[in-house]
Symmetry: C2
Subunit: 163 residues, 2 copies
Amino acid sequence: MVRGSEIREGELAVEVPAARDAGLVFIGRIRTPWTSRDDAPRQGRHDGPVCRLEIFEPWVPALKGIDFYSNLEVIYWLHLSRRDLLLQSPKNNRSTRGTFSLRSPQRPNPLGTSIVKLVGVEGNTVLVRGLDCLDETPLVDLKPDRCEFSPLAPPQAGDFEAE
Amino acid sequence: MVRGSEIREGELAVEVPAARDAGLVFIGRIRTPWTSRDDAPRQGRHDGPVCRLEIFEPWVPALKGIDFYSNLEVIYWLHLSRRDLLLQSPKNNRSTRGTFSLRSPQRPNPLGTSIVKLVGVEGNTVLVRGLDCLDETPLVDLKPDRCEFSPLAPPQAGDFEAE
């Protein structure tokens, strides 16, 4: 089975520019049941197993109010991914698609996003269902799902701007 | 009007750890009609103005196949944000919420995400509706909206794992 880091027939890689346009700080760590890429789901499901978002200091107080929402958006760093693929062959059949037309973990900035169901909050840990990532995946951001969120700040001109 | 970088009453900031856990490469630049934070919408709308995602080399070939989708997920870097706020007061009324319970641009890793409507592709440029960010915002990632996307790669054990 072709997995992980090898290049498949038809795939196209480039020399990657230095990734120093901006820097990330990992705000936590994700605990899931999946320890190998062969076991993890392709996409999370909202009736899947409970996973844990362990928030690091100094960010724990930033969880205040998060239990108000039933759906959260989680952004994480797919730390095992290669970042140089322009064309990929998901079925390994020589047929290729551009990286930006796929939700593959292999991408120039390997950020995964999921909408998850909030199960509960225990101290520095947020319990959720709906993730698809490996155990120990670094956590980058956590926010209310846009579908549930109404901005608290007052509206601005752009909010009424339709074509 | 309190805007931008000042701290409001009740807000809590911390000394931020160095943001060097991972590095981003900007894959493009977003062109929108909004040049000031006072004009930009709080949230994009799918009948809003057409915005342009200008993809940089060497990433342009990675657009192959993107016109198959009508909804795309866009991830961008909110380059004017402060990154040290734990508690924020969106209404500037002393009432605070944790940063992770808000979609505020001020967050430890200032990543914005939007689901946009694809209008068309012209060379290295993707035309979309539904953004809310400032002109010249750096583009970080672009992928099919998860609602429309069925993984092309074969299913794995985790895909069937429900509790």
